[in-house]
Symmetry: none
Subunit: 224 residues, 2 copies
């Protein structure tokens, strides 16, 4: 599990990196905003920790840029008097925040919670009922049928639904989880993606048994 950390306070940066690596994470360090963006591209981390006050590009700017292209979980770090930027970050799609000073223990707990919520805690096969999703090689197996290959987006959709198997997941949450914060008017994208996924996993795509619609609310996965 790879975590990108960006903070211009070297001491704090090292402390966080140490804490995380002790907990089994692979820490990637950046000392300013532009470095953070470069490293984000090249390393493809599973989670990002951003300080708001940074030279180069502010954490706020970095958050916005990352969110425009990825749905990776983002945690913001903020001093007590940076309320306004914090709120802007949250509205732009940051997932959580921590106010300085904080204890390493707290940081760790929050990061784990964030990963759990994003359904990224275990990279192994994710199964529920008769649906077995193999995240590694992008395949699903339903019942005794042959495994089907999924695209990146289909995988993310099915992953989110499978984590909440049996319960309805709102369209907004799906949009954020799959694409990050693009313009929210993109119901079209979700419509398409659901349609394409149904073609692959439903016996009769016109009468969905597995990926069902909750009209006006979202979609849900029916296992067994």
């Amino acid at each position: 599990m790879k975590v990108l950390i960006a903070d211009d306070d070297r001491d704090l940066l090292e402390l966080i990196a140490f804490t995380l690596s002790q907990a089994g994470f692979l820490a990637v360090k950046a000392v300013d905003g532009s470095a953070a963006l470069t490293l984000f591209e090249s390393e493809g981390p599973d989670l990002v920790v951003l300080d708001i006050n940074m030279p180069g590009a502010s954490g706020f700017k970095v958050c916005e840029t990352i969110r425009a292209q990825s749905a990776v979980p983002i945690m913001m770090l903020t001093a007590r008097n940076e309320e306004e930027d914090l709120v802007r970050s949250l509205e732009l799609g940051a997932d959580d925040y921590l106010t300085k000073p904080f204890s390493p223990r707290t940081l760790l707990a929050r990061i784990k919670a964030l990963l759990r919520r994003a359904g990224m805690e275990n990279s192994g096969p994710l199964a529920s009922g008769r649906i077995k999703l193999n995240v590694e090689d992008h395949t699903v197996q339903i019942g005794a049928a042959a495994a089907v290959r999924l695209t990146k987006l289909e995988l993310r959709l099915l992953q989110m639904l499978l984590v909440n198997a049996g319960r309805t997941v709102g369209s907004d949450r799906l949009l954020v989880h799959i694409w990050g914060h693009r313009n929210s008017g993109d119901r079209q994208l979700l419509k398409q993606l659901v349609h394409r996924l149904r073609q692959k996993i439903e016996q009769d795509p016109s009468l969905p048994q597995i990926l069902q619609t909750a009209t006006g609310a979202g979609y849900k996965l029916v296992v067994e």
Copy 2:
């Protein structure tokens, strides 16, 4: 999603309640500490917002009492120069704090983050008497009957009535909660919506047993 708000400043209380209800939350208001505790018991909110300075029982006391029996997320409100108070609050188990004055936008962002963090972003079914409202997938179940699907507006109406089950809710409050502010000529909309909802949930829509009219005042839900 039900939120209990406790503040002895009536104006602020109303402002917060209005902000939250516009955002789709159900606001339950308390003007002092003991009222807050009573309402906490009876309403079972998903989140609590507490002012520290209150007559009756202080925010501390309330926070402590609630925490002794529940893990519900708690957000404290504090005046700017009461740093010690907020430290004490956090030690007592509050999850976050906000210093006055704050903007509604900030409050909303923080509350959303808090709910996300607590993994409570989707509240379980909201039930009272024989009525069980499943907010997630827009359905109600009454008694042993089959679940009925509701539209967005019907859901909001029933939600508001269910929170105030047994009590009459004024037409104005319903209008504001469901549509947000509109020109007041819109009694027609409410009339329609009530009618459609009755068709769905009443055994005999012409003799309403559940969604009853309080002539000249509003509507109320009879749950027994």
